[in-house]
């Protein structure tokens, strides 16, 4: 009975992982195929040639796009971590009138879809002259209600006595923030950092809006360009581009996962 249950479970798991993973694997396969193979609907390439990858790099300044994406994602990640952790610190450790009301106002901005604020944001960026600049691509994303919420929840688990002990020891408020609160909340910071990085890396609409030349454009736009550049799309090249774009995010996920697991087992308080 238990055996049968287990077998069923495994079959279901395998099936769903195949369904989930098929598009990615197929993209990988297509990236090695030549145009004829793609059109014939083959699943496996006849040979693993790297021609498509070469073409992908030749057709567009892919490296510079990658670099832009990296800079922007890293900047947004850092900005979000700094702004969210400082805001969360204020909401947890600094007493002031209307703190909870302000927090709920802050949180309620999560219910406004980002697209709704896009036009006012665009106008602001334009007024500031930040079109086609890293500023325009990063600064609007620094304040993140979700991040503040996540970190506030973690900060609240820090015992009050820890703050009092550091007060007695002579730590200033800011020293308490970076010497105690941040290290203790490493897990949440890593989670938020990865979340911020990936979201920014995968962003398409905003970079398209605020850039109009190649200097600061990101890889997501490059992918779209590959599709539309030629009359008939060379799917092999596009998929090669996709794989190149996905690799850094996978690296980050795998690296971060280890860090996350370590954090989860080590960070426990008390």
């Amino acid at each position: 009975m238990r055996m049968r249950k287990r077998i069923t479970l495994y079959i279901l798991l395998i099936l769903s992982s195949i369904i989930l993973f098929f598009p990615t694997v197929y993209a990988l396969m297509v990236s090695f195929m030549n145009g004829r193979e793609v059109l014939s609907g083959a699943v496996l390439p006849s040979s693993f040639s790297l021609d498509n990858y070469k073409k992908a790099f030749e057709s567009l300044p892919l490296l510079s796009y990658l670099w832009n994406s990296l800079v922007i994602s890293a900047a947004v990640m850092a900005g979000q971590l700094i702004v969210s952790s400082l805001a969360a610190f204020a909401f947890v450790f600094i007493k002031f009138k209307g703190r909870n009301a302000l927090f709920f106002l802050f949180i309620s901005t999560m219910m406004v879809p980002w697209e709704a604020t896009m036009i006012p944001n665009f106008v602001t960026i334009q007024e500031l002259g930040w079109i086609n600049s890293y500023f325009g691509l990063t600064v609007p994303f620094f304040a993140l209600a979700f991040g503040t919420f996540l970190l506030r929840q973690h900060f609240k688990t820090i015992p009050k006595e820890l703050e009092e002990a550091s007060q007695v020891a002579g730590l200033s408020r800011f020293q308490f923030f970076y010497k105690v609160v941040l290290p203790v909340s490493k897990t949440s910071l890593v989670t938020l950092g990865i979340y911020g990085f990936l979201t920014t890396w995968n962003m398409y609409l905003w970079p398209l809006l605020v850039t109009n030349d190649e200097t600061v454009r990101t890889v997501q736009i490059a992918l779209k360009q590959m599709q539309t550049k030629e009359v008939s799309t060379d799917w092999g090249v596009v998929m090669a581009g996709v794989i190149i774009v996905v690799i850094p995010t996978l690296l980050l996920l795998f690296g971060g996962q280890k860090q996350l697991q370590k954090g989860l087992t080590q960070g426990a308080l008390k």
Partner: protein, 375 residues
């Protein structure tokens, strides 16, 4: 080492109900001073006010010769041990211990030396590289102590530092803290709700109830000469038996017990009193007919502890205890004759609850002086 002076301290959280009122005390340099009282009486609040973690709403705190109640916690030059230890979970034991020295910019070499010495004193040398979560409760407690001691602050505050430990470890740590305090000559202000800790550790004790000081004195003063029925019942285990009594015809009447004759010349002005009798002063009577002031009691419960026997019975509508040394063949339901000597009775005025007369203390009864003991 510094003196700490509390002058008419007042504290309220909501602006109307006082949590502490008119607390006065002078804690001498090098003294082990215990604040004891039931849960919620304001002990932690008082300690936190001394530490500067809670503002005062009236009165003054002086540490050394400096008025301290407007200073920041770090400017008061003290260390503190918290009930839940408050160790930094991301730092190793060693870094936890020297954290404060780091903040005070003590040079690295000295930091190392002092950290090592303190760790050795508390038997932590083998654990210096571990994180707090890899330690047992008792070891964490030691780290918290080490962190307070390494500071060499003249005043050390402790808020129920032993309450998370099991009974055996607690007894051990009691002795250890006391020894360290003596060796280093620390001024310690120690908060506890446990009267045993207060009695065994304190040079002097302050008993607090509902934010009001009940009595300040050495452990024996508090035990032998309690200022009011609250102190009398709070200190000592089992507690002092207390009952309403009436003084008539030169006798003390307590319901459920025989009348206790007053000695010649021992007249008392009051009629209505509270009578307090320590459990060891309720004595067994061999010859109930001849002994004056004896009465029959019905035993409700018996606890045989090996070296002593504790009986529970009812008198004047309350539970009373008698404690006799040795193992007594008594069972619940037995009716046995007991007597109380007037000299052992403490009397309190019924209206003001102030002490009228202290009971005779056990050391007087034994009549052995310190000189004799030392021979």
């Amino acid at each position: 080492m510094k003196q700490v002076k509390l002058d008419g301290l007042y504290k309220t959280y909501d602006g109307t109900t006082p949590v502490l009122s008119n607390v006065n005390a002078t804690i001498e340099a090098g003294e082990f001073f215990v604040l004891v009282g039931p849960s919620g009486c304001g002990k932690s609040t008082l300690l936190r006010m001394i530490a500067g973690l809670e503002e005062t709403n009236g009165g003054a705190i002086t540490i050394g010769n400096k008025r301290a109640d407007q200073l920041m916690p770090s400017e008061r030059d003290l260390s503190m041990v918290f009930q839940n230890y408050a160790l930094y979970p991301h730092l190793t034991v060693f870094d936890n211990i020297v954290f404060g020295l780091h903040v005070k910019k003590v040079p690295k070499e000295e930091r190392k030396r002092r950290g090592r010495e303190t760790a050795e004193m508390l038997g932590l040398t083998d654990y210096l590289k571990r994180k707090p979560r890899q330690l047992s409760g008792g070891q964490r407690q030691r780290v918290a102590l080490a962190r307070a001691i390494v500071d060499e602050s003249p005043v050390c505050l402790m808020d129920e530092p032993l309450s998370n430990l099991d009974a055996k470890l607690r007894a051990h740590m009691r002795a250890e803290i006391k020894q360290i305090q003596r060796r280093l000559g620390l001024t310690i202000i120690y908060v506890t709700h446990d009267q045993v800790e207060a009695m065994t550790m304190g040079d002097r004790i302050m008993v607090l109830n509902k934010g009001v000081t009940q009595q300040i004195g050495t452990p024996l003063e508090i035990y032998n000469q309690p200022a009011n029925p609250f102190v009398a019942t709070f200190i000592g285990s089992p507690p002092m038996n207390i009952a309403e009594g009436e003084i008539k015809d030169h006798k003390l009447f307590i319901e459920g017990l025989g009348p206790i004759p007053l000695p010649n010349g021992g007249a008392i002005d009051q009629t209505h009193v509270y009578a307090g009798i320590r459990p060891e002063a309720v004595r067994f009577v061999h010859d109930p007919v001849r002994e004056k002031g004896s009465g029959l009691i019905e035993v409700k419960n018996v606890e045989v502890l090996g070296n002593e026997t504790v009986l529970m019975f009812t008198a004047a509508g309350r539970d009373w205890y008698a404690r006799w040394s040795g193992q007594w063949p008594v069972k619940p339901g037995d009716r046995i004759p007991v007597m109380i000597d007037y000299a052992d009775v403490a009397l309190f005025d019924k209206a003001s609850e102030k002490s009228i007369k202290h009971g005779q203390s056990p050391d007087v009864a034994a009549e052995i002086s310190r000189e004799e003991v030392l021979l």
